[in-house]
Symmetry: C2
Subunit: 148 residues, 2 copies
DNA sequence: TCCCTTGCGTTCGATTTTCGAACTCAGCTA
DNA sequence: TAGCTGAGTTCGAAAATCGAACGCAAGGGA
C-alpha cells in the first residue's frame, strides 16, 4: 500500500488528505488564495524547483482544483492558473490551518497578511458545526462510527 | 529557500501548511483522530515505512501536537501517542478536508466511517465565519491585506 | 530577416527522502 | 534458557526533489 493508494481509498477524508498532503501542495494553494496565478510568480515567491511545480500544478489541474485560463499581455496569448469552484471550496481548509496557526504557533505575531470580512470588517475564523442543531463542535462532541 | 524554511516563516498560514504538508502527516493525523495510538497499529493500518513513521511521530511530538503517555499491558509499561490540546485543536482542519471530500470527491459514496454529534445525532460540517457579524464566509467575502 | 526577450516548461546529474527487509533491544513468559 | 512482542534502528535500493542548463513559441526592434 504505497502513499499514492490513499488517493483511491473509499474514504472522503483519506483522499483529500493524500492529495493535499503531498509536499508543496498546501503552500501552493496558499499562494493561489493570496492571488498568485502564473508559473513564474509561483517559482519566484516559493522558490520551488520548476519540475516539481510543473508536477503539482498538473495534479491540481487533473483533480479539477485549478483550471488554465487564457489571458492577453503585450498582444500575446498566455495562460494562468486559477481556482475552479471545487478549488475555491478549499478555502475552509486553508482558513482552518490559519486559525490553528494563529492560536498555537504565534499568538502575538504580526501576521504577514490580514484578512477581514468585506461587509463588516470582522475577522475570519474556521469552525466545525453540527448540521442538526447548529452548535459548534470539538472532537470530543463527535461520535465516530466505523462502517462494516 | 528550501521547503523546511517555511516552517519558520512569519506567517500563521505558512507554518502550519509546511508542517502538515509533509507526506504522511495528514494521513497520520486522520488515523490518530480515528483512535489509533500505538506504533505498531499505525504501521499496520497505514503501511508506512517504520523509519518515516518514527520521524513523523517525532516531529509531531516536538511540535507538541502529540504526547507520549505511559500505559500498562501484561504488566509491562509501554507508551502510546496521544493528542495534546494543541493537537485536538487540529480537528477543524481534518473536518474541513472531509467536508470538502464529501462534496467534491464522492458525493454519493458510502463513507468508511460516519460522524455525528453525540447530543443531537446531527452531521458534522466545517465552515468559515466572520468573528464580527457571525455570517458564513467564502473566499470572495474576504479581503486580503498584505503587510508592508 | 536576424537577434533578443519573456513566459513556461523539460531535461539531467547530484542530492534527499522514502522504502522494505533485516536487525536490535528490553521485558516478560514458557 | 529460549522465545515472543512492541518499539524502534540500520542500511542498501528506489523514488522524489533540487538546481542549473536547455528548448521553444510568440512577439519586438533593427
Amino acid at each position: 500500500m504505497p502513499y499514492s493508494s490513499f488517493a483511491s481509498m473509499p474514504c472522503t477524508l483519506s483522499r483529500p488528505a493524500a492529495l493535499l498532503g503531498e509536499r508543496w501542495t498546501l503552500l501552493l494553494l496558499r499562494q493561489i488564495f493570496l492571488g498568485t496565478r502564473r508559473f513564474e510568480d509561483f517559482q519566484a515567491t516559493m522558490d520551488i524547483s520548476r519540475s516539481v511545480l510543473t508536477d503539482r500544478l498538473n495534479v491540481l489541474l487533473q483533480e479539477n482544483v485549478l483550471k488554465r485560463v487564457p489571458y492577453h499581455e503585450d498582444g500575446r496569448t498566455r495562460h494562468e492558473y486559477r481556482l475552479t469552484e471545487k478549488g475555491r471550496d478549499l478555502y475552509p481548509v486553508l482558513m482552518a490551518l490559519r486559525t490553528w496557526g494563529e492560536k498555537w504557533m504565534a499568538p502575538d505575531e504580526e501576521e504577514s497578511f490580514h484578512l477581514h470580512h468585506r461587509d463588516c470588517g470582522g475577522g475570519v475564523r474556521a469552525k466545525v458545526e453540527c448540521t442538526g442543531c447548529g452548535v459548534e463542535l470539538t472532537a470530543r462532541d463527535v461520535q465516530v462510527t466505523a462502517r462494516e
